[in-house]
Amino acid sequence: MIQYRFGDSSVDLTAPVEDRLTVGDPRVLDFLAKVARKLLAPAVARRHPELGSLGFFLRPAELNRAVARMQRDDAVVFPRGNVFHVPPANVDTIFVYSWALSALAGNHNVVRISERSAAAADTILAALNEVLADADPVIGRTQRMITYGRDNAITAALSQWCDLRVIWGGDAAVEAIRKNPLRPSARDLTFPDRTSWAAISADGWRAATPASRRDAVVGFSNDAYWFDQAACSSPRTVFLVGSQTSDVRAEFIELLLEVVDQRGWAVDAAMAVEKRVNAYEMAATGAISAMEFPKNSVTAMSLTAVPSAPRRWIGAGAFPFAEVGSLLELVPAMNRQDQTFSHFGFGLDQLREFALALGGRGVDRIVPFGQALTFSAIWDGYDLPSEFTRLTTIAA
């Protein structure tokens, strides 16, 4: 059973469509700009702060920048064709980022929205549908969002239909969906399980003003708590870079407790138990040597060694800490699974040296605290606008 959440439901999803969109099609630009305005409305942003960032991303200036990146002088750029998106269930905004960039590239899109999608997703869909009512009908005919249950036949049919399949949601999702063959000309864009980290330069921290330390913690708390610390980009382990860093850690935790309290982010009993279970497990296996539970909102642990840093989710507001002498000491512990490395107190040269030492073997994004969840057109090491287009070369 297919439930249509957006777009024309009268025509079969995989039926050929006469309409053609262009790269940076003005009708799509116009549509997305109107959606942006709805999401940036104060009432919406207050209820779902993450939709504010999404609205920002969809503003015309941002979109035009993305379109400009699709243009090339060595080839003519066209839409890739039909794109099938399988976004994650619980990070409510990803499906829009993924879809919007693809629509902007002129593709015909089908987005599978999970049955388990949360409240913010409904708000977004309501906004999309309100704008659709007055939009050019080509939008509804070429852009569809659907929900269906455990029906592999639909996934199989859409996999045969598409030129590009975009799979979010981790290793298990990628493996499950990949069992459905694509046409020989089509390919996958996959977003498997990722791990993200945070690092504080002890020297940078000590040199910073109290106000900028606090700002850093506010940014970090957004990064960590918005998606229960479970988004691919949510920082988990915090590396304290320097020596004798216990003062930095203590102040950081103290500020974090304060900020989280002010924001009113509560961690419920079930989550508190989840964090205890995970912390006790790590203690039992020797991965951590100390655990503190100052409040349910913040669990702090001391890692016995950098490689013991967990790569799985261990609960909302669970922070293993480890001290290292320099960023370069982290290089051997990083791998392909590592996505976002958010930082405070480092200079650009230190970060650059770190990135060069990593040599692309891990870590796709190095961003300051507060920007870990900020989506951008370059994501997980992919240049999405270029993934969503195809190139024709002409030589006379």
């Binding site: 399988v86 619980n90 990070v91 949601g169 009993a269 138990v273 006790y280 203690a283 349910n296």
Partner: protein, 344 residues
């Protein structure tokens, strides 16, 4: 001989000494447990409430035992809802002790002699010894306290009215034991007794297994008791226990409505925000305490069940009396992962 004898203050004194010693015993003999204590900074407890608890779910992910491999006599498993399994390691001593203490506990209400026993379950459930369920373990554990066992359900799980009638004809005029899971008793014994006019007035019912399914059918514990009394069954004892503290059961007193702790066990209700002990009347997470786990560090466990202490030293038996009110839901991440589940 009752095992429900100690007033709370006296019990806590005994338990604090025994459990402190047990904590040190497990610290010496289980390295993972010692690491947990070290990481949490635990040194010593000045009250039962200060004893270090383990989340009960740890037994699903860790091998926690305080005996060498060659002394493992029995490994008990319980299947959880998510397919994870607790593994509980017993040596000969612990295995014998848990049977003995469970016996002493139920004999408080059954008397010293084995009674004819009607099992409200199906024999078929015991067949697959490998995937032995908690239900099977409960039935087997309890069946040693009865004799002349009769199964109330046939191999297909359908009520075997002839078998029940036969049992009652033979044993119905003297005390007999009925054992089963709460929901099965409701569905397959109460309704059948009511519809067929069976006389269960000499029965002593011991039942367990949670109220969720009954609450779903809008049957409260009080209603359950009242309706069973309607078919003559007035000796009814619910109990609460778990494989992670095998041998320890918290038993409902004769007047109903409250579970009591045997002398070697206790409960603490904790505030899931401050983690402090809550006073009677306030609902929180149940911590269960028992001196029986000597072969694995399960003597102080934080369950994921919600409960409330109703009173102390003011009921049928001394000590705390309490109720289990339901389960804490499992925390779920809002993460990027786990978006797509294949059709089953």
């Amino acid at each position: 001989m009752s095992v429900f004898t100690l007033p709370q203050a006296e019990k806590e004194e005994v338990l604090l000494t025994e459990l402190s010693a047990l904590t040190e015993h497990h610290r010496r003999n289980s390295e993972p447990y010692a690491r947990i204590l070290a990481a949490s900074g635990f040194e010593k407890a000045d009250s039962v409430a200060e004893l270090p608890w383990l989340p009960v779910r740890l037994f699903k992910s860790l091998e926690l035992k305080s005996i060498p491999d060659d002394e493992v006599f029995k490994v008990l498993t319980s299947s959880g809802t998510t397919g994870e399994v607790s593994r509980i390691y017993l040596d000969k001593h612990a295995a014998a002790e848990q049977t003995r203490r469970l016996g002493a506990t139920v004999q408080t209400v059954l008397g010293p002699k084995r009674l004819p026993m009607l099992l409200v379950d199906t024999k078929a459930m015991l067949k697959d010894r490998k995937s032995f369920s908690a239900r099977g373990a409960g039935v087997l554990g309890m069946s040693t306290f009865g004799r002349d066992h009769v199964w109330a359900l046939d191999n297909d799980g359908v009520v075997d009215l002839d078998a029940i009638r036969g049992f009652l004809d033979k044993h119905g005029d003297a005390p007999f034991l009925i054992f089963g899971f709460t929901f099965l008793v409701w569905l397959h014994l109460y309704e059948v007794a009511r519809d067929n006019g069976l006389d269960l007035s000499n029965g002593i019912l011991i039942h367990s297994g949670g109220w969720k399914k009954l609450i779903d059918q809008a049957v409260s514990p009080d209603e359950f008791r009242a309706r069973l009394a309607g078919v003559g069954l007035t000796n009814v004892h619910n109990y609460y226990g778990m494989v992670e503290q095998i041998g320890t059961v918290f038993l409902e007193g004769p007047s109903g409505g409250s579970l009591y702790c045997p002398d070697f066990a206790d409960v603490i209700v904790r505030d899931p925000i401050t983690w402090r002990e809550l006073p009677p009347g306030e609902t929180g997470l149940l911590e269960v305490i028992s001196t029986l786990p000597t072969s694995y560090p399960g003597h102080v466990l934080l369950t994921e069940d919600l409960g409330v202490v109703h009173g102390v030293d003011d009921g049928d038996w001394p000590g705390k009396r309490f109720s289990v009110l339901g389960r804490l839901p499992r925390a779920e991440a809002r993460g990027c992962s786990d978006t797509y589940r294949e059709a089953a």
